[in-house]
């Protein structure tokens, strides 16, 4: 297993946001975490990334216990989080934001990889030297994803990457996820676009009020009527 989280617990003062969650992500796997607003998905990812200090449990990455490691060290280990809400650096230019993603790397490849991102997201190319603050919401999201890709991680955790992206770009994004996965990148994905998430993922977990409510293969989850009712919505309802 690439990532093994066991009994992870996270409290913010009185709020018990994550309650003893265990999950695994295998080498080359795409795993998704689903749940309602406030279920604790973002908190879980932040704890795995080291941005929040868990109050219990252990995290193993690449066969090594990283529970006590700092967030920046985990990036060096190859564990990267694309945080919720974009979090781009508005005081840096678009290009500088991308390069920040490659902070732990150096060499000529970085520039090449950056060009590749620009090729994929022409909107970014057009604003390359502009301050990132002028980007539209969706463009900022593209930038956030592109930035994470530049880290060349082993495991990428994406927190609602499709937020604010137009349908075409969502498609592109999920294609990209599949493509990267094919190249060996493992992915832990939190998505509100549950149908697409379950389409690309092989396995999934469902969180409710901080605790694991269900886990299984994507097909199992998609077929679970009670889950569909609570989180996944159903096609007729939406149509």
């Amino acid at each position: 297993m690439l990532l093994e989280v066991a009994g992870l617990d996270l409290r913010y003062g009185a709020t018990h946001a994550v309650k003893g969650v265990s999950l695994t992500v295998g080498e080359g796997e795409i795993v998704t975490v689903l749940g309602a607003n406030g279920a604790g998905k973002s908190s879980l990812l932040k704890a795995i990334a080291g941005a929040e200090k868990p109050t219990g449990g252990t995290i193993q990455f690449n066969g090594r216990d990283i529970t006590g490691r700092g967030a920046s060290q985990r990036v060096r280990d190859g564990l990267v989080l694309v945080p919720e809400g974009r979090q781009i650096f508005v005081s840096l230019s678009v290009e500088e934001n991308l390069l920040m993603g490659a902070y732990t790397r150096s060499g000529a490849e970085v520039a090449r990889d950056a060009e590749e991102i620009f090729d994929r997201f022409p909107n970014l190319e057009a604003r390359r030297h502009a301050p990132a603050s002028v980007l539209s919401g969706g463009e900022q999201q593209m930038l956030a994803v592109g930035r994470a890709l530049l880290a060349r991680p082993k495991l990428m955790m994406l927190d609602e990457p499709s937020l604010g992206l137009s349908p075409i770009v969502v498609d592109q994004l999920f294609d990209l996820i599949a493509e990267l996965n094919a190249q060996g990148l493992s992915i832990l994905l939190v998505e509100q676009n549950t149908q697409m998430a379950l389409e690309v993922a092989s396995r999934g977990y469902v969180l409710e009020l901080g605790a694991l409510r269900a886990e299984g293969t994507a097909e199992e989850l998609a077929a679970d009527a009670s889950l569909v009712e609570a989180y996944l919505g159903n096609a007729e309802d939406a149509a």
Binding site: A51, S72, V75, L92
Partner: protein, 305 residues
């Protein structure tokens, strides 16, 4: 002749302000942190330098030392103090939610340190100014009836050299980028792999070094140090920094020199107490016309809707 001499006096006085103004502008520009301990770092270098040259190292570790090693120790102490400030102010400053007064948090702790350092020195050495003696009889250069202070000229040149280096470093390098990112969103910078606790201290080391050097030059030049020298130079340096525009290193250079000249001529024409009105009045007027100073950049905004 008197006028020429006064222009020289103004530029040399401004030279002292420049180094401190640059230190201010660095921490504001890079870390968005108005670090009020900067004047005390300047003072620490001078006072500790004096103390070592007068009493020797503490706990009887040495006899009084010569002026060069004493000032070197003073500068070192300023750097260490600056690092202590980093440890207890900036490191605790996590911009959780952006709002108009957020820069107040480290600012307040830095004011706490201002009191701590100033009163530590006052407790140790009292409030009196102390003479600082160098072996040079006369540190002045007299040409054509003009008196020019050599340490001040050296100080100005050193400041300018450091400034030139810094401005290139910050605008272009990976370090500069990481620092700016950290200033804006420390939590996110960490997620990029930035070791915030390693790179932020670099800024504080530079700050300590700049202030320390300025403090040492001050001691040599005026042959005197005092626990209040920081306040004196600090407020004017702030004026210089604001005049130039926050975060603009060359702006701080220009601002520092403008303040020096303004002060000198204000004193010359209207008397000692007039400088306060002219310097700060000029600042207000300039802010009225250019709310971001002469060479200021746009401040970090919240981004778009």
């Amino acid at each position: 002749m008197l006028i020429v001499q006064q222009v020289l006096n103004g530029l040399m006085l401004g030279g002292i302000y420049v180094a401190v103004a640059v230190a201010f502008t660095l921490t504001i520009g890079i870390l968005n942190f108005l670090n009020f301990t900067i004047p005390t770092l300047f003072m620490l270098a001078g006072m500790i330098g004096w103390s070592v040259s007068f009493y020797g190292l503490p706990f009887g570790m040495s006899e009084p030392l010569g002026w060069i090693p004493s000032l070197a120790i003073g500068i070192l102490c300023a750097i260490v103090a600056s690092l202590i400030v980093e440890r207890f102010t900036y490191r605790y400053f996590k911009a959780k939610h952006g709002d108009a007064t957020e820069h107040a948090i480290p600012l307040v702790s830095s004011l706490g340190f201002l009191l701590i350092f100033e009163y530590m020195i006052l407790i140790a050495h009292g409030s009196d100014p102390r003479g600082f003696h160098t072996p040079f009889g006369d540190l002045n250069w007299r040409v054509a009836g003009l008196v020019i202070s050599i340490p001040q000229v050296v100080g100005l040149i050193v400041s300018l050299a450091i400034v030139a280096g810094l401005s290139v470093l910050l605008a272009r390098s990976k370090l500069g980028r990481a620092l700016r990112a950290t200033a804006e969103k420390p939590d996110t910078a960490v997620l990029m792999g930035v070791e915030v606790n390693r790179i932020v201290p670099i800024v504080f080391i530079m700050t300590g070094l700049l202030c320390g050097l300025a403090g040492a030059l001050f001691a040599v030049n005026y042959g005197e140090v005092s626990p209040f020298m920081g306040e004196q130079v600090g407020t004017k340096a702030i004026a210089g920094m604001v005049l130039g525009g926050l975060g603009s290193v060359w702006g701080a250079v220009a601002g520092g020199l403008i303040v020096g000249l303004t002060e000198t001529f204000s004193i010359y024409f209207f008397g000692a107490t007039s400088a306060q009105v002219t310097i700060w009045g000029l600042l207000l007027v300039i802010l009225l016309i250019r709310p971001k100073g002469l060479f200021g950049h746009n401040a970090i905004g919240k981004g778009k809707f």
